[in-house]
Each structure stands twice: as structure tokens, then as C-alpha cells.
């Protein structure tokens, strides 16, 4: 009983000692606008659309990012260009709604949509927070520099025909029954 009471008193006193000691410790706070800490590449802030190593748009407008977005801030319209590539005719992110959860980046099968550490993009007008494709598109490959989705997809796009992609056999000859 007495031991228990002593324990209680000691533990409470230890708590008071800990907090009290902090009064004489230099705060660890980094004062933000005066000092800007360099953020790691995987930090989640402003979203960009990257390009593949050949400099073409990576986004194929598959709607996965808009489908996974918990706040429905991504909208787009897919279209097909003259080469047969699927691309986004328009692509819009409403950063007024975005919660920077990064699910779009996880869902993206082509590494096109990526979050960057640049978090300072506040605008005074809410409509300026609505970014269109030209605002989002950058001339970089981003975090997955070597990946080119169409090299793996196996659909005919531009000059690459059936069997010309990574890990593909040439097209089957359906006119023969030879083994």
C-alpha cells in the first residue's frame, strides 16, 4: 500500500521533472519562413504529370487516379491521338480540394502522376487552384526515370507493332497448323 503510494508519487514527480526540465531546453522548432528544410523526394505536395524517357506524355488517361481520389479532385477526358496512343485530352486537378494523400501516385500504372515536395503553391483565388494539364505537365521523368509504359503494354502504338515490345514473341501465324 505504502509502496504503491510511493510509486505513484515518484512517477508523478518524474513526469513533472521531465516537463519542467524542458523549460530549460532549446526548442527544436524550425521557424518556417526563415528556414526552409530541404524535403525528401517522396514528400507529398504539388502534383505533376511527368514524361517518359523519350519526352512523350506518360499519362494515358486511364482514370485510375480520378477513381481512387478520395476527394474527387481529379478529372480528365481520355482521347486517342493519330499514333494510337491514349492520352488525356484535358486533365484537371482541383488543388482547392486535394488533400495530398498520394493515392493517385500509388494508383498510377504509368508513373505519370507524381507528388513533389513543393508545397508552397497557395493562390488567393480558388479558381487559380484549379490546375489544367498545361500547368501540371513538366519536362522531367520524375521518380521513375526509365519507365515507359508503352514498351510493356503490347498494344500497337506508332511504329512499334505486335511483338516489338519488351518480352513479346512475334505475332502468331494463324494460317498454319504445323507445330
Amino acid at each position: 500500500m505504502i509502496r504503491a503510494v510511493i510509486d505513484i508519487i515518484v512517477s508523478i514527480a518524474a513526469g513533472f521533472y521531465t516537463t519542467g526540465r524542458h523549460l530549460f531546453v532549446r526548442p527544436v522548432t524550425e521557424s518556417y519562413p526563415e528556414y526552409k528544410r530541404p524535403l525528401p523526394a517522396r514528400s507529398r505536395a504539388r502534383i505533376i504529370l511527368t514524361r517518359d524517357p523519350e519526352g512523350r506524355e506518360r499519362c494515358v488517361a486511364c482514370y485510375l487516379c480520378s477513381g481512387v481520389c478520395p476527394v474527387n479532385c481529379i478529372s480528365m477526358q481520355a482521347a486517342e491521338d493519330s499514333q494510337g496512343r491514349r492520352y488525356a485530352a484535358w486533365f484537371r486537378i482541383n488543388f482547392g480540394r486535394c488533400i495530398y494523400c498520394g493515392l493517385c501516385e500509388q494508383a498510377c500504372p504509368t508513373s505519370a502522376i507524381q507528388l513533389t515536395p513543393d508545397f508552397e503553391h497557395i493562390r488567393r483565388d480558388i479558381l487559380d487552384m484549379v490546375f489544367e494539364k498545361q500547368d501540371l505537365l513538366v519536362d522531367l521523368c520524375g521518380k521513375d526515370p526509365d519507365y515507359d509504359f508503352y514498351q510493356h503494354a503490347g498494344v500497337v502504338v506508332g511504329l512499334a507493332g505486335k511483338g516489338d515490345h519488351i518480352s513479346e514473341n512475334p505475332p502468331v501465324n494463324t494460317r498454319t497448323n504445323m507445330p
Partner: protein, 328 residues
Amino acid sequence: MWIWLLGYLVLMAKITAVLTAVMVLAAYLVLVERKLLGRFQVRYGPNRAGIYGILQPVADGIKLLLKEDLVPEGADRAIFLAAPAVVATTALMMFAVVPFGPRLTIGGREIPMVITDINVGLLYVFALSSLGVYGVALGGWASNSKYALLGGIRGAAQMISYELALGLSIVPVVMLAGSFSLVDIVNAQAGLPFILVQPLAFGVFLISAMAETKRIPFDLPEAETELGAGYHTEYSGMRFGLFFLGEYVHMQVMGALVAVFFLGGWRGPVLPPPVWLLVKIVFVVLFMIWVRATLPRLRYDQLMNLGWKVLIPLALVNILITGAFVAA
């Protein structure tokens, strides 16, 4: 006639001085608390409004005044609007009986350094403290919100429970001083402050006082993690400000009462008496802040156990012992 008018003016001057001091102190206590909490947690606390953030209370006040005063749909409007005023007023009115110095003699006329010296001052304080429960309970009930209602119910239960311990803990002090008047109690400590005679009563009173002011570790009525903001969830703007003000004034009242009952009130060497009272109040309040920075919130059953099974029996035993000594 003249004398009467002069007495009235002096009373007004005292009320003005006390209210101003209390309000300004309340505003800056907020800042002090935030700064200190910051330091307790190894950060800076507010430091943007003015140098070291000293304009923060002004900014907060302006913000609260400019915010929209929302009344939720389905709220009991009259009660909802009145509740914050009840909390703030009762807290402020308690200062009426706190003495802040010995009698002053100006022009052969004695002026008591207390707004009014009621002979049942202590009961007056407890009466007002009980009335304050209405502000919390009714504010919570009138909001028509489950969080506010739960907060209000918890507040009522907690404040009523700890009022008992608060009252009982002070009985030995009354027995020693032989009076309910706060002036007499201070005077009774001319030799020795009661904290040295009644350490147990001091402990029980301090803990109960923190519970009465609904401060961590007794902030169940607000309990942000469970109830949003408890009984004042639905309040905004200056009405929320009044709840906030009430809480900090209440802290000061409790600091003042601790000073009056146990620390010798305004008595002290060198410094003028009101300053001594202020120092003691601030000291008690700083201790409350330190407690807030250190202890976690109690669970509801722990809260009730502490009140009913520890503090009240301790206070009763203390009364018996003190009674025996006084009688002997």
C-alpha cells in the same frame, strides 16, 4: 450624502480596478499558458503576433469578435445565448470578496481593500461556483448536439462532485480562522500561512480547484479527443470567447482562493500587498499549467473514484483531526 457618494465612487473604482486587472490577466494568461506549454513541449509557442507574440491576445480577441455568431438549428435559442454569460459572470463575481490588501487609510477614512467584505464570503464564493455549473450544463444541453450534451452532463456531474471535496477541504481553515469572511481568514494567517498548518487541506483544495475549473487532467467536459469540444462544441465567436474567458478567470479565482486560504493572501514582505496577491495567484496558475503539461486526462471512473473515494474521505478525516486539535 457626500460620504455616501464618495463611498460609491470608491467602490466603483475598486470594481473597475479589479475587473480590469482580472480581464487583462486572463488574456495574458492565455498567452503565458500557450508559451509555457510550448516550452514544456520543446517548441516556441506563439511568436508571430508582435515580439515574442505579446500581441497574440489582442489578435485572438479581434478574431473572436469578428467571427460569425452561429446558433445551431434546433438549439434552445435563449438558453444557448445566455449560457456563456452565466459562466463568465459567475467567475468574475467571485472576485468581489477577495481581499487584496490591508485597510488603507486615506484622509482619516479607512478604505477596505476588498470590493465587499461579506461575513459569509466563503459561502458566497461556493454559491457562485455552483451557479457556474448551470452555464456549462445548460450550454451543453441547449446546443442540440450530442457532443455538447455529453460534455454538459459530464461537466455538471464533475463540478457537483468536486464541489463537495472543495467545500469540505476548507472547513478546517474556517475552524482555524473562526470566520467565513475572507478578510478574517487572511487576517488569521498573520503569523503562519495555513498551508503549513493544513497541508492536507491544501492538497485536497488544489486538486478540487483544478477539477472545478475543468482543467487537464480534469477536462472531461471538453475532452477534445472524445467530444469535439464538449459543452462548447457549437459555440463560435465571442460566445465561445466568454466560455474561454470564464475558464481563465475561474483559474485566477481559484489561484486567489488558494492564496487567501493557504498562502496568507496579500501578506508578504517588501512588496506592496496587491502585488503579493498577484504573485501568489500567478504562482498557483503557473503550477496548474505545469500540471496540464504533465498529466494525462483521467478516465471518467478514475475521476469519480478520486473525488468520492479519496478526496472527500481525506477532507472528512482532516476535519475530524482539526476538530480534535481545535477542541483540545
